[in-house]
Symmetry: D2
Subunit: 311 residues, 4 copies
């Protein structure tokens, strides 16, 4: 089983990713680490812990707190308009039984990576602040990380927070730049893939409803705000699931249908483009590839995995 | 007949655009104006004048010299690696008989627009330096311009000089920003459209060869360097014709198959993104549309127009 | 007599500069050109024309209209809080008899420079928009200009609109950058010099009052608002006169007491530093000098010239 | 006795600062922490340790290793042209007996600050990378830090690495920005102060020579390269001692003769101004002061302290 650390700003779709990861027989979640992003930091931790609990995994995976702010600047307001005030579509679940660990997420990452050299994949489904701090804290750790699979960027498409930037990079562009230049093998799954291959339509939600399980109800519940937002503001025919499909690709690599080795960099400056990920399609930057960009995914396989996880 | 001013940094594909424009029964070319770009400025003027001559139009359209440099910075080296040293695939044609006019291109533009208020479309197939200077020289001219059709940008695609920037904006981003915020109706035809719908494959070149006309020979001759470059460096199956297809859309608007009103802006700063055109697909910038982005074109119609012009 | 073109965004201190220039026996004012800046553009022209009239010079110098906007961006609100709503400390003078010329300021500049090659000094006491357009309009004019004396920058001091930027550059940083890289000999007189050597204290205003002339009254009148502003917001012991001292240095070069050849450039980007002029004191940029920075001036001589002009 | 942590990229002048700090009866050096900067990271640590040893303080103060790279970008080449290849004017001292501690500098800082809340002043005489990581690692530590005294910036003066930037900020502008916005009380001593009040002239070096002590010889030895560099490239009449005078001000606050509360920020972007510290003299940024800028120092007191330390 591949060992993973799931680094997440847990809100709706991160919760779905946790469900997938906990259910997957092929991977072992060594730790969940919380990073600045979607909603208030402590709420993110609660969302992760509650998701573990609701899926019957309370106390099976430790949850560590990482950075509650981006490296350079204060966190932008929040994304509660997308995910609801609690990040769970205003479900306001009770406090989870399990509590976050005392150890700093970055120290836990170092401990785990050193305990399992070359075996751990970081699945980063939030801003890259924790991962950047890991690399700044101990630069020599880089060669011991098996890889980073990151939800972010956009290939032959547009951004979701600005015309060119996607949320997880835009929240902390400096962190993303540090990680992209670290030498660690990186795979990215972009906003484009989530729009093309992860949208749960009304028909999909009906199928979820028919499952009738507590997890199916949980999934439906936590997506009620996002479903509406995606339709009304993002030209989608349902809710997209970027974090879930990114995690699904780690669980079953055959879901990635097109993998492109490319040189990628991040704009940390610019008046309008801060947070844009550049994917050098034509090699104009004359640099060797540092990222494998997933450009297409198997929607059917992803949804089947999702339905199974909710069964 | 629509009146147009063709603003061009004449090299290979600009020459094809001139051929189309001179042959078109629906438009009247009031002036050709030369702008900084592909090759040495005087050579660009010669290329435009020679193209008029070879198509039997010498002395029928005046050619005016505009800006030989971008607004803010010196011109980048040149693009002779794409177009050959003379911008005509190293054809080294003789000097044309017709000479450029004395009048500054921008003064000529003002004179023509004031003579034909609301009737003139500027077809800009080079950097927007001349057009920006027109708007700076006389801001009150803006409402008298019918529109600007501009070859530039990239929609759900990538750039050709950097991962995010396309040549005509990258040469003079400040000029593009001035034009985009001028209030003049703008239509853009991007690099993406040229790649999707304007590529002349070997089969197309064979068809051109069979025409056997002097213009067919001229077209083949001036594209010999670019054909190779596009294949070897830009992942194309032949030579793309952005300037020609942009001009074709002015001649026959039905060639544009998808027209998207969008708010667009230009990044003039940034460490990696200078010259990127932002197309605000999801309305995240909360501005009214100022550009009509052509997102798809009719390849067949375009090529038929091209073949007719070379007959 | 040296020929000058006085390029001005005429408000209070520009008016004082016009008075000095018109009174000076050593220089001949060939033209006054109006540029975007302190107050509404037409008001600036009126202020220049009224100042000519009040000093008995109506119809003796033509006034031309240049650019009513910076090159790249719309003009910032305005500086009426410094100069009063009319730019003349709310004096609301009657409309002047003389009207602006029809010819574009930049065309007039070209005509004059070509008529008097190597003889004309441009005294730029506003943003450099007109001068930049001159250089863009006709790059070959550069070697025919004797020099540019520009009020702007700050040497071993701070800025007046931001911690590092001074007004005339900050209004149009792109224009300044174009001019600084044009090869034309440039002399700058900075905000620092105006604070160190041009402040009219209450005692100086008393001396002006004692002159009892119409010009003395005019000077006092137009400085009422600025006197207060400078004291309350700019840590000065009276009103500074940057435009007047810059012009005085052109009239009597011995007023400049320290002249430093330096490489200078302008920051057009930056989050906080846009509009800063860099003066490369230690040669860290490894470029030859392109600007002569006036670092100290003779306060006594300047004030005597001012008092004489108001007599 | 005030407790300090001395954060240093130990080369010539940092060594002098260590000598001052170890000799001062008013302060207790709890730790020396090493940060990226002047020379190769391990060499910096050796320089600090050797300086402790030569001054008879081996094993009396622990030395911790912090960050060997700036937050965002790789370290610029190095500053060996200023300080010699070893950072000690090519003295190539033997390896020190004492070795760096195992604990990460940032963890040590946290431990010490929590052990002595509100008592520890960080004297930062290198880039602010370690201090920024401290604040990112544990944001809640900020209110427990007594203050940060930082060598950096330039007031009414110029920069030493670019016309506007000084070395310690320029090495890691993002780190400086994080620290400046942390809420911790900051005092800065700039390049200007070092030039105005810390220059050791030939006469001063003669006086040092006459002391005849091992430390006097050590001081002379390690400054041989810098003495020449400062004269030849920085328009000084000897070697300046920014780190030493900054530390002297912590030891004897009466050395600071002018202290200005100001709002300060750092330019992390910009084409030419990256690394500039903005000091908002006129309050144009409309923010409350976050820094106390030392604008003048008592040269005589500083030098006497220095001579005493070398005796
Ligand atoms: Ca997420
Ligand atoms: Ca072209
Ligand atoms: Ca002025
Ligand atoms: Ca240092």
């Amino acid at each position: 089983r591949r060992r993973i650390i799931l680094d997440t700003d847990t809100a709706t779709d991160d919760a779905a990713a946790i469900l997938l990861a906990m259910k997957a027989p092929t991977i072992k979640v060594e730790a969940i680490t919380i990073v600045v992003g979607n909603v208030e930091f402590d709420q993110e931790a609660k969302n992760a812990l509650y998701t573990l609990q609701v899926s019957g995994n309370a106390h099976k995976v430790p949850v560590f707190l990482g950075s509650s702010r981006p490296l350079l600047r204060p966190i932008h307001g929040d994304a509660t308009y997308v995910h609801g005030k609690d990040g769970m579509s205003n479900s306001f679940f009770p406090d989870p039984e399990q509590k976050p660990e005392e150890e700093w997420a970055v120290d836990a990452m170092i401990r785990l990576i050193e305990a399992h050299p070359h075996e751990i994949t970081i699945v980063a489904i939030g801003a890259l602040t924790n991962v950047a701090l890991l690399l700044l804290r101990k630069p020599s750790i880089a060669p011991l990380i098996q890889g980073i699979t990151f939800m972010g960027g956009t290939y032959k498409f547009y951004g979701n927070v600005t015309p060119v930037a996607t949320y997880n990079i835009w929240v902390d562009p400096e962190a993303a730049k540090i990680v992209f230049h670290s030498g660690v093998p990186i795979t990215t799954v972009g906003f484009d893939v989530s729009v093309h291959s992860s949208i749960f339509t009304d028909a999909d939600y009906e199928r979820v409803a028919k499952l009738g399980t507590p997890l199916a109800k949980f999934f439906t519940e936590i997506n009620k705000v996002r479903r509406v937002y995606c339709k009304e503001h993002q030209k989608m025919n349902g809710s997209n699931h970027p974090d879930a499909i990114t995690t699904a690709i780690v669980i079953d690599p055959t879901i990635a249908m097109e993998l492109l080795p490319r040189y990628c960099d991040v704009e940390t400056q610019g008046e309008l483009t801060r947070g844009a990920m550049l994917i050098d399609e034509l090699g104009t930057m004359k640099q060797p590839p540092n990222v494998t960009v997933c450009a297409a995914a198997d929607e059917k396989k992803f949804k089947e995995m999702m339905f199974r996880a909710l069964s």
